[in-house]
């Protein structure tokens, strides 16, 4: 054997490992979960289960995209208002669509308006005035939920999603859920936007080193502001998907996605300090979270066991690869 060849080969593997370490680890973890489920519960490792997991994980992953863009812009960015924005859009558009395809364009316009408004306000406060994003977006979540409460006045929300939305969000083509295709399209667009456009470059630049970006003529405030607007618009459009999936709108349909979306981002190996963003890993993180939830439910330990398991696994996972060892 030529030593030079083995050498390059080991280099190749080393490079591959160092570049795709996080993806490989998450994929292995997901497989581990499926095998654990198969051993402990049985009937867990099936194609149908995998597809169902994919479908549910798609929703987390799409919310996590909002999160990832805001987090990547740095400055301690986080968006706790995503789920609530989605709720507001779903509630507002339910009666507009009223089960008619012809009203869908109005609903989309409303969704865009809601998303831009919320994102603009978030961005103004958190990016432009530099108030802490955690508190700003949390307060914005309160405001948005308050608007929903005031709009519904405690009554049931009438109206149905348009059939097109239901096809996209709830139905399947063959055996594949349509929302998975949507996720793939969104992922490709995201990858192009983040890695092939100047805006993506600016986003990561601002996120990893604000001063360096500023000195190179990038206005960090504007870039972060845009990140918040993008997050708001995406979250708002997610509202349309949620109502399409569930077939009706209710008062807290989106709020349960907020923290999982952040967790998925972190499990996907995105540093909360900003400057990083690999959406593929975030999708894997979402699948991991969803598989974990499925497994814990399937184990039948009840609520208590489910949450204890979730907490412990998340903690251990964080130790395993988000730990930030001190460099000496």
């Amino acid at each position: 054997m030529n030593p030079a060849i083995t050498n390059t080969r080991s280099n190749f593997f080393e490079i591959a490992w160092s570049r795709y370490k996080k993806s490989i680890v998450v994929i292995l973890l997901i497989f581990l979960l499926f095998i654990a489920g198969e051993v402990l519960v049985g009937n867990f490792l099936s194609f149908g289960q995998l597809l169902l997991t994919m479908k549910l994980a798609s929703y987390i992953a799409l919310f996590a995209l909002c999160q990832m863009i805001v987090i990547a812009a740095g400055g301690g960015g986080l968006d706790l208002s995503v789920g609530y924005t989605a709720t507001m859009t779903a509630v507002l558009t339910a009666s507009i669509m009223d089960g008619q395809n012809s009203n869908l364009w109005m609903a989309i316009l409303v969704a865009l308006a809601v998303g831009i408004a919320v994102g603009f306000a978030n961005g103004f406060l958190a990016a432009y005035l530099k108030l802490p994003a955690l508190v700003v977006t949390m307060a914005m979540a309160n405001i948005v939920q308050g608007i929903v409460n005031a709009y519904t006045k405690g009554a049931d929300i009438t109206g149905k999603p348009s059939p097109i939305l239901q096809i996209i969000a709830a139905k399947s083509t063959g055996i594949f859920p349509n929302v998975v295709f949507l996720l793939i399209v969104v992922a490709i667009i995201t990858m192009i936007l983040l890695y092939k456009t100047s805006w993506g470059l600016k986003l990561f630049g601002v996120g990893s080193n604000e001063i360096a970006a500023y000195l190179s003529g990038v206005d960090a405030k504007i870039v972060r502001w845009v990140a918040f607007v993008v997050s708001g618009v995406l979250a708002s459009l997610m509202g349309l998907l949620l109502i399409g999936n569930l077939g009706l709108a209710f008062k807290d349909m989106g709020s349960m996605y907020v923290m999982p979306s952040i967790a998925a981002t972190v499990v996907g190996g995105i540093s909360l300090d900003g400057g990083e963003g690999n959406y593929f890993n975030v999708i894997l993180g979402s699948i991991f979270l969803q598989t974990l939830t499925n497994l814990l439910i399937a184990l039948g330990l009840g609520d208590a066991g489910k949450w204890i398991g979730f907490g412990i696994v998340l903690y251990v996972l964080l130790i395993a690869y988000v730990r930030n060892p001190r460099s000496r």
């Binding site: 406060l125 802490p132 508190v135 307060a139 005031a150 972190v266």
Partner: protein, 339 residues
């Protein structure tokens, strides 16, 4: 220059001062709307409604100053109420002490787990305390799937002196002006006053403002942040004692809505989320501001549906106000300097 005025000016220039102003405005509006605010009974009610949030905000402030954040505060509160009521038996006064000791143990354990994650393993505080919040919720649900439980009679001492049988009249009289809730706050404040004189609290400021520099100057950053988390857990325990005395039961989900309010209180009180800045006593001001706002919403007959909306707006106004204020005061100070 006159020493006195310059100290005053420096004090007015601090960003915390604006939180104080906002709080005073809210206080004035509350007093205007609630005609019987200063009556003894309504004052006691006010203390009871405000003090748990104040205590938890103080604890949160300690963690934030040391460079962390505790999203598990609410579930930790629930867990402590559950543990207390799980151990106590109604007919056994001694079980109250056992429960108290166990709760202190649980508080220290909660602080340790959070602190090890934040301090030693250097995980992002937002996400690690998010993970532990599910841990506390799960354990609490395991012990008590539905709200319930019982307490020994003397444990009501943490809520109301006069409902404790066989208590000296002196306490009952005192309870009318200084109810147990206020005593808990006094315990918290005095405790923090003495703690804040210690070296480790000064280290907290150093660690919070720059972890690496603090480490390089020989501070045990891991331990410092762990201690901050333990102090926070003890503050939460004080709030838990009050709630157990009040509700005479434990509930695994009671604390969940508190978490974000607690963090908002600390931020409104001028504690910078970036760490290393702020005064724990000003977390009281922040918590008071939010509590007064809730009272105003209640007394101003704002429909229920608008309450979340208004409280969200107030949080933004309060933190934006302190920012604008500090900008203006800085500018004023610069002008003063140029003269």
């Amino acid at each position: 220059m006159n020493e006195k005025t310059s100290t005053l000016k420096r004090w007015v220039g601090r960003p915390e001062f604006s939180s104080l102003l906002i709080m005073l405005v809210m206080f004035a509006i509350t007093v205007y709307l609630q005609k019987n605010f200063f009556e003894q009974k309504s004052l006691v009610r006010t203390y009871n409604a405000f003090i748990p949030l104040i205590l938890m905000a103080m604890g949160q402030a300690v963690v934030i100053i040391s460079g962390g954040l505790d999203l598990s505060a609410g579930s930790a509160l629930s867990l402590m109420t559950v543990v207390l009521t799980y151990i106590m038996k109604k007919d056994d006064p001694a079980s109250g002490f056992t429960a108290l000791l166990a709760a202190i143990g649980v508080a220290v354990a909660i602080g340790m787990v959070n602190g090890i994650g934040i301090g030693y393993l250097r995980l992002p505080p937002v996400i690690v305390t998010y993970a532990t919040s599910y841990l506390w919720l799960g354990i609490a649900l395991f012990l008590r799937p539905t709200p319930g439980g019982q307490i020994t009679e003397w444990f009501r001492i943490f809520y109301d002196f006069k409902s404790v049988p066989g208590i000296p009249d002196f306490f009952v009289e005192m309870g009318k002006t200084i109810p147990p809730a206020l005593w808990l706050l006094i315990i918290g404040c005095v405790g923090w006053f003495f703690l804040s004189k210690t070296r480790i609290v000064r280290y907290m400021y150093a660690v919070g403002s720059n972890n690496d520099n603090a480490y390089a100057s020989g501070i045990d950053t891991g331990w410092t942040q762990t201690v901050a988390c333990i102090i926070n857990a003890l503050f939460i325990l004080l709030a838990a004692l009050f709630f157990v005395g009040q509700n005479q039961s434990g509930d695994a989900r009671m604390g969940d809505p508190m978490t974000l309010k607690v963090i908002a209180s600390a931020v409104v009180g001028g504690i910078a989320l970036t760490g290393g800045k702020g005064n724990v006593f000003f977390a009281i001001v922040g918590a008071l501001t939010l509590s007064f706002v809730n009272k105003i919403i209640f007394f101003a007959n704002i429909p229920n549906a608008y309450q979340t909306l208004v409280s969200g707006l107030i949080i933004i106004v309060a933190i934006a106000g302190s920012l604008v204020y500090s900008l203006f005061s800085k500018r004023a100070m610069l002008k003063e300097g140029m003269k």
